[in-house]
């Protein structure tokens, strides 16, 4: 918590959509290990996370296994050195950097470029 707060003052979380950066929220709204959902201009939803080192990640919020927009409410973790989120519904894990499902090679979710600025 303190980690996130130290670096946040005035900074916002931004997603890259086509050529523009889209502002989502203040950096202090993110808790390491938990996500938030953002509504994008085209009606999609993104799930945005930060880890304890302050790195940011964003993937599609929709859980491809159930269709529900819930990935932002999953628990994050580290698997063999890589960050992931586990769907809160049926617990499939998704790599936060590639969007690849760790439990089913044929499934992938979209990822977004994200920065704090």
């Amino acid at each position: 918590m303190t980690l996130a707060l130290e670096t946040t003052t005035g900074l916002t979380v931004q997603l890259r959509l086509a050529d523009d950066w889209f502002e989502v929220c203040g950096l202090d709204r993110l808790i390491p290990g938990r996500g938030v959902a953002a509504l994008l201009p085209d009606g999609r939803q993104a799930a945005v996370f930060t880890d304890r080192a302050g790195r940011l990640y964003a993937i599609d919020n929709r859980d491809p296994f159930t269709g529900a927009a819930v990935l932002s409410r999953g628990l994050t973790g580290t698997h063999q050195g890589r960050p992931f989120v586990a769907s809160p519904l049926l617990k499939q894990r998704f790599d936060l950097e590639t969007g690849r499902c760790l439990d089913d090679d044929t499934v992938q979710v979209r990822t977004y470029e994200v920065k704090a600025a």
């Binding site: 989502v24 959902a37 953002a38 409410r73 580290t78 809160p88 044929t106 992938q108």
Partner: protein
């Protein structure tokens, strides 16, 4: 009916008890069921069941649970089983058996396994209404029925079965007496010292024991029903019900009638192959047989051995039954009683080593020969060492005998592990399984767990007294063979949940991050943990919060990030991303005003409502941003969180109890409310369910709960480890006739011990099956305080109770926490469009078109979902 004339040779078995069933299994194993016609005549209306565990019927096991007969086995082997049709006569000339129904079966081989009958002393009025014996399930059903209109019961006979029967009567709510002719209880198994220790413990349980007196007459009233008994010391005992349990006699009438030789004191005389000495076509096994060593064995283990022997003889294999060990280990009314080998020191030149503490109800005696060999012994009150000691019988123990009987903590208790045993030591005497066989099950047959080894070797499948040793042997063997069993919680921690609990408690670590960096696996340190260890550590910290100085509010600080989504939003996530809301309704009792509030809230927010199995009301279809306003109204109306989302106490169901019900004997609703309010919010390894029934009719289904309470005339019986769901399990009786305070103290200890030692997501039912020593161990710890931790367990629970706060009241008053309850961080007022509903039966249901047609038109980028 005509006699059977088929050409295949026929084996007829008379009697389908435990020994009869084992005989059938032995036939099948030897392939004899394939080559022979096998006909079984069974007197009882049900196939073979576990008579050794008969009394467990009163602690909730059904006749079906007790069954030993797999009907698929009977069918698969083409066995013709005739239930309720006993053999009535045998014609040895014609080689036929005639059953009660008139069925006549020709035999080539006849096997008598007729068992024994209860001996009823020839006293006046012994057959009066209210007199029973204790032998079959039907006997128990009759006793149970009669006990409903009785207040006092007496058991004639203070032996093994007599004590069980007396305990059962007490469990049925009767004042119970035991009348034993000998000067002590269990005269066959224990000596004077053991009898004294046993007497003290039994009397402390509220049973009245009369030793050294005989029964002279059963006194009956004008209606012919029992009103009392006259005893040999001239006194009279008032009682409504009498159970005769004064020993058994071999059931050999059928054999006598057809001219087979029987012993002077009964029993069909057989040779070492279990063949009758009179007729080579007839065998006798089990309690009806007088074995070649001149004894009639009343235990199941020798009977099993005889069954195997007879089957071998029929198959033409060499095998002999020359005598058997009479060792027994029993749990009588919660007291361990064991005797083994030459328990009474009958051989010459024996020396006794005795440890006795009658205050604690402990008595242990070892009989040692001059040569230092262990010859036998008696254990009362603590038979922990039974398995090991019995296996050492006949040899010189590797440590001094004193150290084997001293209690833990006195001097230097020696843990003589089963690994010290020789390979031919018998571990399971019921099924005659040697240590070597168990080791082979692990090394050759790749068994790694107790259930697998039980299945493979049959060890531990009868009386269960060796299961603990079994577990130790399996683990030792696995370790020896280098099988690395990673018991770690997850890829981040090599410790088990129990070990992490101990670390958190001892070092007062309140943060997952600190725990991971200090105690995690090397490669996981500095990382973010995972979806397994985070909620587990969150739960441990929450369970211990007051004791380790953590916040008792699960959404505080780092704790918030550890919680599964349900705990994070204090509601239950449903399939379309909406949540359900369950306010607490303690004991299922709710006033009309509060019912109306729930109705109004559900109506105003358009929620789907359903009554839950736990006697409360679930409201479905709330979007995350609606949760705070729903709860603001619920809290305002006096509701609090029901923790339906948590791995924590759910509900304590109740029946209406004494207040309204004409059968109730205690106020079950009040007790359920007290329990629910006491344990609400308690985080645990898995959810906890409970119920309180106001009488033995058990309408609240307490025996299917993690902890269930059933009222008795004298207080409460506590059952633990029950479960419904996919793997139902009847709860086990932990303690009887508790006062309110005793009940709560015991539940406090039980829950805290479970929370301390269970694995993640391990319900009490599986935990109880897994922990070494099982129910007995748990009872030792929480009832007898064998680990000396009960004070700590109680104070941890006291801290939980005094620090409880309603999470929802806390949350709706905290703007920072409330800010998390939005669908979108950048559009707090916009509801999630994916959450949609359609009508069904006057309410709503989730609209789930998502996987088939997709939702968003802009969804043109291929996301590779196989589900599309």
């Amino acid at each position: 009916m005509p006699a059977d004339t088929s050409t295949t040779s026929t084996i007829v078995l008379v009697g389908h008890g435990m020994v009869g069933q084992r005989f059938l299994e032995a036939l099948a194993e030897r392939g004899l069921t394939a080559t022979h016609r096998v006909v079984v005549l069974c007197e009882e209306p049900r196939p073979a069941y576990d008579r050794v565990q008969l009394t467990s019927y009163f602690s909730g096991r059904t006749p079906e649970d007790l069954s030993l007969t797999d009907l698929a086995f009977i069918e698969e082997h083409g066995i013709e089983l005739h239930l309720g049709d006993p053999a009535e006569s045998v014609d040895r000339e014609a080689r036929t058996v005639t059953a009660r129904s008139g069925l006549v079966v020709g035999y080539d081989v006849l096997v008598l396994a007729t068992g024994s009958y209860p001996f009823v002393p020839p006293v006046p009025n012994k057959d009066a209404e209210g007199c029973f014996v204790y032998r079959t399930i039907e006997d128990l059903l009759a006793i149970e029925e009669y006990a409903r209109r009785s207040t006092t019961g007496a058991v004639v006979g203070g032996g093994l079965l007599g004590l069980e029967a007396a305990g059962a009567l007490k469990g049925l709510g009767l004042t119970s007496h035991i009348v034993e002719f000998a000067p002590r209880l269990m005269p066959v198994q224990v000596d004077e010292g053991g009898g004294a220790a046993l007497l003290r413990t039994i009397e402390e349980m509220g049973l009245t024991v009369h030793t050294g007196v005989g029964t002279q007459e059963i006194v009956v009233g004008e209606d012919g029903a029992v009103t009392g008994m006259k005893l040999s010391d001239g006194s009279e005992l008032a009682t409504d019900l009498v159970v005769f349990s004064a020993g058994v006699r071999p059931r050999d009438q059928l054999a006598r009638d057809c001219g087979l030789t029987v012993g002077e004191r009964g029993g069909i005389t057989v040779d070492e192959q279990c063949r009758t000495v009179t007729d080579p076509h007839v065998f006798a096994i089990g309690e009806c047989a007088l074995a070649a060593d001149g004894r009639v064995y009343g235990l199941v283990a020798p009977g099993y051995e005889q069954a195997e022997t007879a089957a071998a003889a029929i198959a033409g294999d060499a095998s002999a039954f020359t005598g058997a060990d009479l060792s027994t280990k029993l749990k009588l009314l919660g007291v361990d009683v064991a005797s083994f080998g030459d328990a009474h020191g009958a051989a010459e030149d024996c020396l006794d080593v005795v440890y006795s503490d009658s205050r604690a109800g402990l008595y242990k005696k070892l009989v040692i020969g001059r040569d230092g060999r262990l010859r036998g012994g008696i254990l009362v009150g603590d038979a922990e060492a039974y398995g090991t000691l019995k296996a050492f019988t006949g040899s010189v123990p590797p440590v001094s005998p004193e150290s084997l009987v001293l209690p833990a903590g006195a001097g230097a208790p020696v843990q003589l592990g089963p690994s010290a045993l020789p390979d031919d030591a018998i571990i399971c005497s019921c099924n005659n399984v040697r240590k070597g066989t168990i080791r082979e099950a692990v090394t050759e047959h790749r068994c790694t767990t107790v259930p697998e080894v039980k299945k493979c070797t049959k060890a531990g499948t009868t009386c269960g007294s060796c299961v603990k040793v079994l577990g130790q042997l399996i683990n030792a063997e696995l370790e020896a063979s280098g099988v690395e069993v990673d018991k770690g919680l997850c890829a981040c921690f090599s410790q088990t949940r129990e070990e992490l609990y101990e670390i958190v408690l001892a070092l007062r670590i309140t943060s997952h991050r600190e725990l991971l960096d200090r105690y995690g696996r090397e490669e996981a340190r500095g990382g973010d943990g995972c979806e397994v260890c985070k909620p587990t550590v969150g739960s441990i910290v929450a369970s211990l919060a007051p004791a380790i100085g953590a916040s008792t509010y699960v959404l505080d600080g780092e704790q918030a990030a550890l919680q599964d989504t349900n705990d994070h939003f204090l509601a239950n996530l449903q399939r379309n991303g909406s949540y359900s809301v369950v306010p607490r309704i303690p004991g299922g009792e709710i006033a009309p005003e509060k019912l109306i509030v729930i109705g109004e809230i559900a109506r105003d927010f358009g929620l789907y409502t359903k009554i839950t199995g736990g006697q409360r009301i679930d409201m479905f279809g709330a979007r995350v941003e609606q949760l705070p306003s729903i709860w603001a109204r619920l809290v305002d109306a006096g509701f609090e969180s029901g923790h339906a989302y948590g791995k924590s106490l759910r509900t304590v169901k109740s029946c209406v109890g004494q207040t309204w019900c004409r059968y109730g004997v205690q106020d079950s609703v009040r007790m359920a409310i007290d329990l629910e309010l006491r344990y609400r919010g308690l985080r645990s390894p898995h959810k906890l369910k409970s119920a309180v029934s106001g009488c033995q009719r058990e309408c609240a289904e307490a025996q299917s709960k993690d902890f269930g309470v059933i009222a008795t005339a004298n207080g409460w019986n506590l059952y633990v480890g029950g479960n419904g769901g996919a793997t139902p399990r009847h709860a086990d009786l932990l303690a009887q006739d508790l006062s309110d305070a005793e009940l709560i103290r015991l539940i406090d200890r039980f829950l805290m011990f479970y929370i301390r030692t269970a694995d993640r997501l391990e319900r009490t039912s599986t935990w109880l099956e897994r922990v070494p020593g099982g129910l007995d161990h748990v009872r030792d710890v929480v009832v007898h305080d064998s680990l000396g931790i009960c004070d700590e367990l109680e104070s941890l629970m006291a801290a939980h109770v005094s620090h409880y706060r309603d999470e929802w009241a806390e949350t709706i008053n905290d703007p920072e926490k409330l800010a998390r309850f939005v669908s979108f961080v950048n559009a707090p007022d916009t509801p999630d469009p994916v959450v949609a509903f359609v009508p069904e039966r006057d309410q709503i249901k989730p609209d789930l078109p998502l996987l088939s047609i997709g939702l968003r038109p802009a969804d043109d980028v291929l996301e590779g979902s196989a589900q599309r």
